[in-house]
């Protein structure tokens, strides 16, 4: 048997767990400060429940921190603090809109945040190895389609603002598409990691571009056409754009062929052109985007540019440093606490605040990509890329829409916006990224998660050299290992 090296001489990577805790606490302090300032700005006094609010946020953050320390101690240290801070700033802004509109969205958002962190913790506790998800490749693809179909069931789904993407169970409402996003990422990652070689090497060459064979592409194309088709049918173009981007990005990462980017952009252009011809609401959005500042568009109801322009006015009123929390008038914009929360934040926190938030998103995405590149298996790489790309693309679509860079489509700003399904889905994504990063950064001898069997090799082994303890745990690495079956 091997002699272990001198104890302590071989060090693992630094875990940064204490940094994580301190960053979480700082995030809680900033969120609580924002909350208190909202109270001061709107009613001239600090909200009475600021202490219980702060304690609750801290409990959520620290509890998640402890779970990560317990079950995923090598996980990336900045994911949780960033998520807590974005969520906390969002809560403060939602509370601020509540104060103006006398609604109670912040409470429900806090409940959803609690649910989200609990789910993230459950992912870390029960999903010991992200590679387990690969077993459910087709199951997830199928489940994603079912989830997307749910809102079309009469009685369960309901049309809200022209889009039929909600399901209502009693008082609760939910957008199943947000969860379907994660499941689709699992499906794409699992499928692509198994078939990418066939997709890259085999297939006809047209115009100098290598296309995969239809049978290699088939399942993924079906899943994608079905999901995007359902979404178009439900009139949720933002989400279908998101799925489309996810699909193209994962194909590109899996095959490393730029063909897919050009092809994707081409297909997008064709799709967008067709959509403007077929759907009146798409045409409306584009008109409202191009001619936003004309009186005709501004006064058109419904579907004019009133919301967009009010958001722009708000941001310009905010300027560099903003009006101060609770001192602007962001509630003038319809959906100021969900779709347009970024404009509301721009009005009250100004460019300085917005840039800090944008940087947080950039850092979150950077961590996602870093985790993807550090993952030891192709599935982990693709999956981490997929889910972090959805966050980035979602930011681009929403913030681009609100700032009039691209036409406006209804999507939520990750973690900031009011909306339970999106918040829960994004927290689950954080949990999954934590799990993948833990597995990627864990040193070899600690890596045995023990949940994956040593595959069929064990059978080959037992027939040739008798049973063998295990390959993964790293316990026995002596010369007693003989053939592992030459399955090249």
């Amino acid at each position: 048997m091997t002699m272990p090296p001198p104890s302590g001489a071989v060090r693992g990577p630094r875990k940064h767990r204490v940094s994580e805790l301190l960053l979480i606490l700082l995030a809680v302090i900033i969120s609580a400060g924002a909350y208190a300032l909202v109270g001061v700005g709107t009613t001239d006094e600090v909200p009475a429940n600021v202490y219980s609010y702060t304690i609750w946020l801290a409990v959520l953050g620290v509890a998640l921190h402890i779970v990560v320390w317990w079950r995923a101690s090598y996980a990336d240290p900045v994911l949780v603090p960033i998520a807590v801070l974005l969520n906390g700033i969002g809560l403060a802004m939602i509370y601020r809109i509540d104060m103006a509109l006398e609604s109670s969205a912040a409470t429900s958002q806090l409940v959803w945040m609690t649910l989200g962190t609990v789910l993230a913790a459950l992912v870390i506790v029960f999903l010991r190895d992200h590679r387990l998800l690969r077993r459910y490749t087709y199951t997830s693809g199928f489940a994603a389609l079912l989830l997307l179909l749910l809102p079309l069931i009469p009685g369960l789904g309901r049309t809200v603002n022209g889009a039929r993407i909600w399901i209502f169970i009693g008082p609760m409402s939910f957008q199943p598409g947000e969860i379907a996003k994660i499941l689709l990422a699992i499906f794409f990652a699992g499928y692509l990691v198994a078939y990418r070689d066939q997709m890259v090497l085999a297939g006809p060459k047209i115009l100098g571009l290598q296309f995969p064979r239809l049978r290699d592409m088939g399942p993924i194309l079906i899943a994608w056409v079905a999901s995007v088709g359902i979404l178009v049918f439900q009139r949720d173009l933002g989400t279908s754009l998101l799925y489309f981007g996810l699909f193209v990005a994962m194909l590109y990462v899996a095959t490393a062929k730029k063909t897919w980017i050009f092809l994707g952009l081409g297909m997008f252009a064709v799709g967008a052109l067709v959509a403007t011809q077929i759907f009146s609401h798409v045409q409306q959005r584009i008109d409202g985007w191009l001619n936003a500042l004309t009186a005709e568009e501004y006064n058109k109801t419904p579907g004019g540019s009133y919301q967009l322009v009010q958001g722009l006015f708000g941001m310009s009123d905010g300027g560099l440093v903003g009006n101060g929390l609770g001192e602007g008038r962001p509630q003038v914009v319809p959906y100021a606490n969900s779709d347009f929360i970024f404009a509301s934040l721009g009005e009250e926190l100004g460019l300085i605040g917005l840039f800090a938030l944008l940087l947080l998103y950039v850092l979150l995405f950077e961590r996602g990509m870093k985790i993807a590149s550090a993952a030891r298996d192709g599935f982990g790489t693709l999956f981490a890329t997929g889910v972090s790309f959805t966050i980035a693309l979602q930011c681009f679509i929403v913030i681009g829409g609100v700032t009039r860079l691209i036409p406006l489509t209804g999507l939520t700003t990750p973690f900031l916006a009011h909306g339970g399904s999106s918040l829960v889905a994004n927290w689950i994504i954080i949990g999954l990224l934590l799990r993948i990063s833990d597995n990627a950064r864990r040193p070899q001898d600690e890596f045995a998660t023990g949940v994956l069997p040593t595959l069929a090799v064990d059978e080959d082994e037992s027939s040739s050299t008798g049973t063998r303890p295990d390959t993964v745990t790293g316990g026995g690495a002596g010369p007693d290992h003989a053939s592992e079956g030459g399955r090249a």
């Binding site: 990577p13 700082l26 903003g322 300085i352 600690e446 890596f447």
Partner: protein
Amino acid sequence: MSEFTVTVLRFALFALLWLFVFLIAAVLRQDLFGPRVARSRRDRRRGRAASEAPAAAAHGSPPPDQQSAFSSSPTLVVTSGRQNGFSLLMSAGQLTIGRADDCGFVIEDDFASSHHARIYPQAGAWVVEDAGSTNGTYVGSARLTQPTRIEPGMPITIGHTTMELRA
């Protein structure tokens, strides 16, 4: 509350927000640029002394003139092949290399077996052993027939992928 106080508090919030961003950047700095290397000769000597004591030397990579393979955990770096640039921190246990999902390093190389080779520490050195692969494992240009000691920098070739240990 006076307007002045509120303004001060607003800017304090900005300061905290940006402090948070920069603190995150500081945590990630090491990840992007590697650990801080001891600068002066005295620091380096102190680093070497510290590496004898296990608890110390949490910062700082080992001085480059240190020869022992165990002064710190080496990294396995892929130097050519599809995964060129991929690196993996070695540690006390064995590292299995192969195409199967349960390997410590899942190699993306059609010429590798599902469980191709393993690298493990033995008597203060790193040893690479072929695990009965079809196409063999090469150290330098010699095909492995038995467990072989490797030094940092020696090229290990599996299929079309070449990797080496770096201290």
